[in-house]
Subunit: 250 residues, 2 copies
Amino acid sequence: MPPDISVAVVDAETPGNVGTIARAMKNFGCSDLLLVDPPPLDPEGEAYGMAGHAREDVLPTAREVTLDHLVENYHTVGCTAVTNEDARKHVRYPFRTPADLADSLRDVTADTCIVFGRERVGLTNEELGRLDEVCAIPASADYPVLNLGQAATVVLYELRELTVADTQLPDGPIERADEAELEGLHEEFARYLRSVNHPEEKQPKARRLLRRVLGRAHPTGREARTLRGILRRGNGLLEHPERLRDGEDE
Amino acid sequence: MPPDISVAVVDAETPGNVGTIARAMKNFGCSDLLLVDPPPLDPEGEAYGMAGHAREDVLPTAREVTLDHLVENYHTVGCTAVTNEDARKHVRYPFRTPADLADSLRDVTADTCIVFGRERVGLTNEELGRLDEVCAIPASADYPVLNLGQAATVVLYELRELTVADTQLPDGPIERADEAELEGLHEEFARYLRSVNHPEEKQPKARRLLRRVLGRAHPTGREARTLRGILRRGNGLLEHPERLRDGEDE
């Protein structure tokens, strides 16, 4: 069983960022928000304004704590955009990326707290030195510093496999056609090629081309059946053009 | 070569969200921002306030375009939290997750545009029906709707391998100790066990225990050397306690 994941924000300046973090927590299945030296969170203000539905639970149940409390009670992971370059310094090295962090926590049961720092300067070296692990989001070398709320969103997104039991998405992202449905479509296409007098020597090449296109697209059953039906309709009219004149079809 | 990735926002209501998206674009190596029916973007206002360094380039070079322009000129990917359940409807099905999208675009060279909708209702069925692909972020079934800026941040984060040439992070996340350094540490630990008169029959078990701990932690060279040095210092004093009295050490 993966660990319970709490989120802490140290010395945030902007209530809106606390709200953004609360929303990301609810979006990705976390609920325990811990605040060290927080700004005032006015229920009419920006924190609640940015929190979406997390204004109903995550934000009102947030607890004010100290950094000592985090260090003493959790496996702590400090997030920073700025790492050390190598092992000469250990405040910000080694680090894990959010994806690596998710992997490494999968089989750990300790209560874990992901710790984010203040907007402008993040966590201080002294704070980070007290935490157990360092996590850094890979970003553009030109501008690697994410906004606090956006950084938390990315980290919580990556941890979702540990925290989200059920997503909103249907189980399989694609309900692929079975082979019989696809072969039926291919046969109807072959019939179409004959119906439109596509040069006979080119027909195998055209059939292969469609096979490659559909082979990459993995059509759904409905897509395969619909396309087959549309081709069949054309084939019927091409083979019996008199029906076209009568306004009939197959 | 992966595709050029543009980002479009359709009918955003809040300038701050446009700024948040611009910042995420710069964080993750994108620069081409296209706006359909945007709100006014006052250089003194929220969009620029939220954009960080993207206020210098992404935001001032953003272009106002139509949805037709996107459909005609790009491989379009519409982002939504709300998918159809199965292949009975094709407006929002099949869909790809952001990670799948990144994989699928890796070998495609077409100019690609990731399209985000308005804050409250996202993209309409009519808009989404005109786009080539659908992308949905897996999130908690209890509350799967991300804030617009946060959704864009997650999608652009996942596409970073296509758009970010160099991250701010050093190449390897860990500069692991070589085996000789680790074995040196293990030998020093064995010497320590003898120095403190750890019961002889328990020494192999204790050595295995440390081997497991360090085997999981993959210490850096510096970590291994430092721990070895600290143990050696203790061993020297344990073996020559007279040095303790003299205030000397090994």
